[in-house]
C-alpha cells in the first residue's frame, strides 16, 4: 500500500519531488560553504571544499532518484524518450531499421500463424491424436495406399483388435435442390460409425445409426453447418423434413457443428451407406477407412494387427486381395505433405531473413555508434556509468525493434488473408481444417513481440559494447575514430558482413534451386494446348450409377448447341480434365493373353469423354475418335494414351486390340485410337497408362464441358454457359474456368514458395549490398591518410582500388564459404519441392555464389573509386 503511494507520488508528483530534492542538496552545499566561510576560508576555497565533500550535485541527485520507488521505470522512460528523440533526428536510419524489422516480424507472424494453426494445432475432434486413416496398400507399395472395397472394409472393421471403432466412406457429388435453386455439392456416402469414430456431436437432430445404413429407416441425410446456413437459411425446422438429393427425397436428420469439416470444406453433406449391388464386389475399390485407436494401443501395434488382418484376407480372397495389405496412419497427416513442406521452407526462409535483419540493424547501429563514440566518451568523462550508456543503446534498438514488431503485426494482418486465398497453396482445401480459425491469436502476438524484443536486444548488444568506450581515457588516448575501439568496431562490422553474405548465399541458393525446378516443370509438355480453352462443370446425375447411360444424347446435344455457338471452335466434355490430379483406376485383361494372377492384372487410370475431346484440347490422336455411332448396342470402344501403348503393347499396334474391364461376363472393348501422352495427375509426375471411354457407353455423374474459343470474350462465355444450361435445365452449371488456370494451379505448390523465395532473395541481396557498401566506405574513411601516403609514395590508382576491394571482399568471401556449407547441409528443407534438380546442384551453387560475388564487387566500386581519387596533398594536410 505504502509502496503504491510512493510509486504514484514519484510518477505523478515527480517535478515537485525533484525540485524538493534539488533544494535539499543545494541547502546542504550552502551549509558546508557557510561552515568553511565561518572558519575563515575564502569564498572560492569554501566552494571547492564543499564540492570535494559532496561531489557533483547532479550525480548526487541522480543517486537519490535511483533509490526512489519506480526508479527503473523512470529510467526506462527516459531511455525511451532519448531513443525516440535520436530516431526523430535521424529518420533515414529509423525508417530503414523499422522497415527491416517490420518485414522480418511480419513474415514470422504469418508463417508462425500458419504453422501453429494448420500444422501444430490438433484436429478439431475430441482426442484427435487417436484417429487414423485406414487404407489398402499393396505389400510392395509405398505411400499412403489406395481405396478399398466395401467388403474388405467391413472385414477390417470386424477382424481388427486395435480399433475402438472404424468407419468407411466414399466421395460423391450430389445435386440437391434448396428452394428453387439446383445446387451441386460434394459429400460423402459413409457408414454410420463415421460420427461415432470422430466423436462429433450434431448441432441439431441426430447422426446416423445402424438402421440408417441398411435402409430400414428410409433415405436420410446429415448436412454440414455451411450448407444448412448458406442454402437453407439456417432453418431449424428443417430437421425431419425431406430435401431433394439426386432427385430423390432424403429426410434431414441432423446438422453438424460449424467446426466439423470431414474431410474437406467442399464435402457438405453425408448420407448413410445403403450398399448397392456393386459395393459387394471386392474389386470395386472406392472407399477409405477411418478409425479411432482403442485406448492403450499404439499406432505400431495397430499396424501389426492390420498386417495380420491383411494377410488373412489375402489367403481367403486371393483373387482380389493377394499381395494386398492395410496401412494406417494418423489422420492429421492426410494430404498435408505439400503444405508441410512449404511451411517448413518458409519457416527456414523467415528465420534466415530475420537473422539478416538483426545483423543489418546491428551494422547500422554500429555505424551510427561510431559517429557518436566521442559523445559517449564525453558522457563517461562527466561521470555517466558505462552500464547506463549500454542500457541506453539497447533501449534504442529495442524501441526500433518493437516499432518494427508493431509494423510487422500490421503487415501480417493484411498479408494473412492474402496467403490463405492463394489458390496454389490450397490452404482452403486442407482436410479436416477450416481456414476460418487461421487467425493471429494472442499467443502468436506475444511470440512475435517477444521475437521483436529479442531481435532488438541482440541487435543493440553487439554494437553497444564496442561503441561505448571502456573508459573515457581510452577514447581520448586513442584519438577518437582511429584507435583500438575503432579497430574492434571494424572487426565486428566485418563479422556482421560475413554473416550477412553467408545468409544471403543460403537464400539465393534456395531461390535458385526453386527457379530451376519451376523452369523445368513449366517446360514440360502437358500434351495439350490450354490456350483459349474454358471449362464448365456440369452435373449429369444417374439414378443407376452403374447402369446404361440415361442421357445417351448428351454429347450430340453439346456438339450441336455449344459447338455451333459464336466464337466456339470446338466443344466436348470429359469426366476428369488433364492436370486436375484425379482419375479413377481400373484393371483389365487383354484378349488373347493368358489370364495373369490378380496382382499382375494390367491397370490404368481412366476417364470418360465425348467425341471431339482430343480435337478440342489439340491432343494428337492416331486412329479414330469417338463418334455418335458408339452407342451401347454397338461394339464397345476405347482410346488409350502413348504410355498405355508402350506398357502393354510394346512393339505392337494397340489399335484393333481388345481389352475387358471386370470379369468374364464383361464385354470386349476395342482400342480404336492412341493419343499423345497427356499429363493427367500433375506436370511433375510421370505419365501413367490412361484409358478413355466414350460417354455414350460408360457414364459418369458429372462432366466438364471443354470449349475451345477463338477469343474467350465475356459474351461468348455467357452464351456458352446459357447453352450448356439449356441441355440440362435442372442441373447447376459451373462458372467458366480457364484451362490455363488448372495448369497453373497444378504448379501452385511449387510456384508459391518460389515467389516467396525470390522476394526473400531480393531482400537478401539488397541488405548485402548495403552492408558491403557500408564496410567499404568505412575502410576508405578510416584509411584516407594511409591511402594518401601510399599515393604520394607512388601507388597507382589501380593499386588503391585493389586495396579497398580486397579489404572488403575478404570477409565477404569468408561469408560465402560459410553460406555454401550451410546451404549444402540444410538442402533437406527443399525436399519434395524440387523438380529435375537436386538440393546439392553444383551449377546452382556456383551460379548463385558468383552472382552474389558480382553484387559484392559492384557494391565496393563507389567507395573504391573514392579511395583511388584521394588527393595526397589534401589528405596529409587534414586532421
Amino acid at each position: 500500500m505504502r509502496k503504491l503511494y510512493w510509486l504514484a507520488r514519484r510518477l505523478f508528483a515527480r517535478t515537485q519531488d525533484q525540485a524538493d530534492l534539488r533544494q535539499e542538496i543545494e541547502a546542504s552545499y550552502d551549509m558546508v560553504v557557510a561552515e568553511h566561510r565561518a572558519r575563515g576560508a575564502s569564498a572560492d576555497d569554501a566552494n571547492r571544499a564543499a564540492r570535494r565533500e559532496l561531489g557533483s550535485a547532479a550525480a548526487l541527485r541522480e543517486d537519490v532518484q535511483d533509490a526512489w520507488t519506480g526508479a527503473w521505470l523512470e529510467q526506462f522512460a527516459r531511455d525511451v524518450r532519448y531513443a525516440l528523440r535520436g530516431l526523430r533526428r535521424d529518420p533515414g536510419f529509423a525508417i530503414s531499421c523499422v522497415l527491416t524489422f517490420g518485414l522480418a516480424i511480419g513474415g514470422t507472424t504469418v508463417v508462425g500463424t500458419l504453422a501453429s494453426t494448420l500444422l501444430l494445432r490438433p484436429l478439431p475432434f475430441p482426442d484427435s491424436d487417436r484417429l487414423v486413416m485406414v487404407m489398402q496398400r499393396g505389400i510392395h507399395e509405398t505411400g499412403e495406399g489406395h481405396n478399398v472395397s466395401a467388403p474388405n472394409a467391413r472385414d477390417w472393421s470386424a477382424r481388427n483388435r486395435s480399433f475402438e471403432r472404424m468407419a468407411y466412406f466414399e466421395f460423391q457429388t450430389f445435386n440437391i435442390s434448396a428452394g428453387n435453386a439446383p445446387l451441386q455439392t460434394g459429400g460423402l456416402r459413409a457408414s454410420h460409425e463415421l460420427f461415432e469414430v470422430l466423436r462429433a456431436k450434431p448441432l441439431l437432430g441426430r447422426t446416423p445409426v445402424a438402421a440408417d445404413d441398411d435402409g430400414t429407416s428410409g433415405d436420410v441425410v446429415v448436412l454440414s453447418y455451411s450448407l444448412w446456413h448458406d442454402s437453407f437459411a439456417a432453418d431449424s425446422t428443417l430437421i425431419g423434413r425431406a430435401i431433394q438429393v439426386n432427385k430423390k427425397p432424403y429426410t434431414v436428420i441432423g446438422v453438424m457443428r460449424p467446426e466439423l469439416v470431414f474431410p474437406g470444406a467442399s464435402q457438405k453433406l453425408w448420407i448413410p451407406m445403403l450398399l448397392s449391388e456393386n459395393d459387394k464386389s471386392r474389386r470395386s475399390q472406392s472407399f477409405f477407412g477411418v478409425a479411432r485407436l482403442r485406448n492403450g494401443v499404439s499406432l505400431e501395434q495397430a499396424q501389426r494387427d492390420l498386417r495380420r488382418v491383411g494377410s488373412e484376407l489375402a489367403r481367403e480372397y486371393p483373387q482380389s486381395n493377394e499381395d494386398e495389405s492395410i496401412n494406417a496412419f494418423p489422420l492429421r497427416e492426410v494430404r498435408m505433405q505439400n503444405i508441410t513442406r512449404v511451411i517448413r521452407l518458409l519457416s527456414a526462409a523467415v528465420a534466415l531473413v530475420s537473422v539478416m535483419a538483426v545483423v543489418n540493424v546491428a551494422g547500422l547501429l554500429l555505424a551510427r555508434g561510431g559517429a557518436r563514440s566521442r559523445e559517449f566518451g564525453a558522457r563517461l568523462a562527466l561521470g555517466g556509468s558505462r552500464a547506463r550508456l549500454i542500457t541506453q543503446l539497447i533501449t534504442e534498438s529495442t524501441v526500433v525493434a518493437l516499432l518494427g514488431g508493431v509494423l510487422g503485426i500490421a503487415i501480417a494482418y493484411v498479408a494473412l488473408p492474402l496467403f490463405i486465398a492463394i489458390p496454389g497453396l490450397g490452404l482452403r482445401s486442407l482436410p479436416f481444417r477450416t481456414t476460418a480459425n487461421v487467425t493471429i491469436d494472442v499467443r502468436i502476438l506475444v511470440a512475435s513481440l517477444a521475437v521483436a524484443l529479442a531481435s532488438g536486444i541482440i541487435a543493440g548488444l553487439v554494437p553497444a559494447f564496442s561503441v561505448v568506450p571502456r573508459s573515457p581515457a581510452a577514447l581520448l588516448r586513442q584519438g577518437g575514430a582511429r584507435g583500438a575501439t575503432a579497430r574492434a568496431r571494424h572487426g565486428i562490422r566485418n563479422s556482421l558482413l560475413a554473416i550477412e553474405v553467408g545468409l544471403a548465399v543460403v537464400v539465393l541458393v534456395g531461390a535458385g534451386l526453386l527457379t530451376d525446378s519451376v523452369r523445368r516443370a513449366t517446360s514440360v509438355d502437358p500434351g495439350f494446348d490450354a490456350r483459349n480453352v474454358f471449362l464448365f462443370s456440369l452435373a449429369l446425375p444417374q439414378k443407376d450409377f452403374y447402369g446404361v447411360p440415361e442421357r445417351p444424347l448428351f454429347c450430340g446435344q453439346l456438339e450441336e448447341r455449344v459447338g455451333s455457338s459464336g466464337g466456339v471452335i470446338s466443344a466436348s466434355a470429359v469426366s476428369s480434365v488433364p492436370l486436375s490430379g484425379n482419375g479413377a483406376g481400373r484393371s483389365f485383361s487383354i484378349e488373347g493373353r493368358p489370364a495373369p494372377l490378380p496382382k499382375d492384372m494390367p491397370g490404368a487410370s481412366y476417364g470418360i469423354a465425348c467425341p471431339n475431346f482430343f480435337r478440342t484440347m489439340n491432343i494428337p490422336l492416331l486412329g479414330r475418335d469417338f463418334s455418335p455411332r458408339d452407342v451401347v448396342a454397338a461394339s464397345q470402344v476405347a482410346i488409350v494414351n502413348g504410355a498405355f501403348q508402350r506398357k502393354y503393347f510394346a512393339g505392337e499396334r494397340a489399335v484393333g486390340k481388345r481389352i475387358r474391364l471386370g470379369g468374364d461376363s464383361a464385354p470386349w472393348i476395342e482400342i480404336i485410337g492412341v493419343t499423345a501422352d497427356v499429363r493427367h495427375s500433375a506436370l511433375t509426375s510421370d505419365v501413367e497408362p490412361y484409358l478413355y471411354l466414350p460417354y455414350s457407353q460408360a457414364v459418369w455423374p458429372y462432366m466438364n464441358v471443354v470449349v475451345r474459343t477463338s477469343n474467350g470474350s465475356h459474351a461468348t462465355l455467357r452464351q456458352i454457359q446459357e447453352r450448356v444450361k439449356a441441355i440440362a435445365p435442372d442441373e447447376p452449371v459451373g462458372e467458366p474456368i480457364t484451362m490455363q488456370s488448372v495448369a497453373d494451379s497444378s504448379l501452385g505448390y511449387m510456384k508459391f514458395p518460389l515467389y516467396m523465395m525470390l522476394a526473400f532473395a531480393a531482400i537478401a541481396v539488397l541488405l548485402t549490398i548495403v552492408g558491403v557498401f557500408g564496410v567499404a566506405s568505412q575502410v576508405v574513411v578510416q584509411r584516407t591518410r594511409e591511402l594518401g601516403i601510399r599515393r604520394a609514395l607512388g601507388a597507382t590508382r589501380g593499386n588503391l582500388y585493389q586495396l579497398v576491394v580486397a579489404q572488403t571482399l575478404a570477409p565477404a568471401v569468408l561469408g560465402m564459404i560459410g553460406g555454401v556449407v550451410v546451404a549444402r547441409i540444410s538442402g533437406g528443407v527443399l525436399n519434395g519441392l524440387l523438380y529435375g534438380v537436386t538440393a546439392t546442384d553444383v551449377r546452382t551453387f556456383l551460379l548463385m555464389t558468383v552472382l552474389l560475388g558480382a553484387f559484392t564487387v559492384i557494391a565496393c566500386m563507389a567507395p573504391a573509386h573514392r579511395a583511388a581519387s584521394v588527393d595526397p596533398s589534401r589528405t596529409l594536410r587534414n586532421d
Binding site: R2, K3, W6, D20, Q23, E24, I25, A27, S28, D30, M31, V32, A34, A38, E53, L54, G55, A59, L60, D63, V64, D66, A67, W68, T69
Partner: protein, 110 residues
C-alpha cells in the same frame, strides 16, 4: 576506515536510525552524527546517505520537513517516526545477536 557501501545495506540504515533517535536532523547533520558516534570509523558518503534517507522515508521509518538550521538556514530535517523507532529497536536486537554470534565464531578455537 570502512566504506559504508562495502557493508551490508542494513548497517547504514541502522546507523542513520540511531543517529536520528536522539533528535531530528538534516542530511549533513546525520552524516556527522554517524561519524561522531562511530569515532570516525565510518565515513558516510553523501552519495550513499541521501539515497538511504529517501529510502527510509519511503519505508515510513523517517519523516522529512523543511526547517531552520542552527545558523538560520533552510534545511530539510528528518525525524524518526513511531514505526521507525520500533524498527530501530528490532534492528538493534538483531544486530546484537548477529554481532555476538560472529564474535563467538571468530574467537572459537576449533
Amino acid at each position: 576506515m570502512f566504506e559504508p557501501m562495502g557493508l551490508i545495506q542494513g548497517t547504514l540504515d541502522l546507523l542513520i536510525l540511531k543517529a536520528l533517535s536522539l533528535e531530528p536532523n538534516h542530511g549533513l547533520g546525520v552524516a556527522r552524527r554517524v561519524e561522531q558516534m562511530t569515532a570516525d570509523t565510518f565515513r558516510v558518503k553523501p552519495g550513499s546517505l541521501f539515497p538511504a534517507l529517501h529510502r527510509l522515508e519511503e519505508r515510513g521509518w523517517v519523516k522529512s520537513e523543511w526547517g531552520e538550521s542552527a545558523n538560520n538556514r533552510r534545511a530539510k530535517y528528518y525525524k524518526l517516526t513511531r514505526t521507525g523507532r520500533a524498527q530501530l529497536q528490532t534492528e538493534t536486537d538483531m544486530w546484537k545477536r548477529v554481532a555476538y554470534a560472529i564474535t563467538r565464531s571468530l574467537e572459537a578455537t576449533i
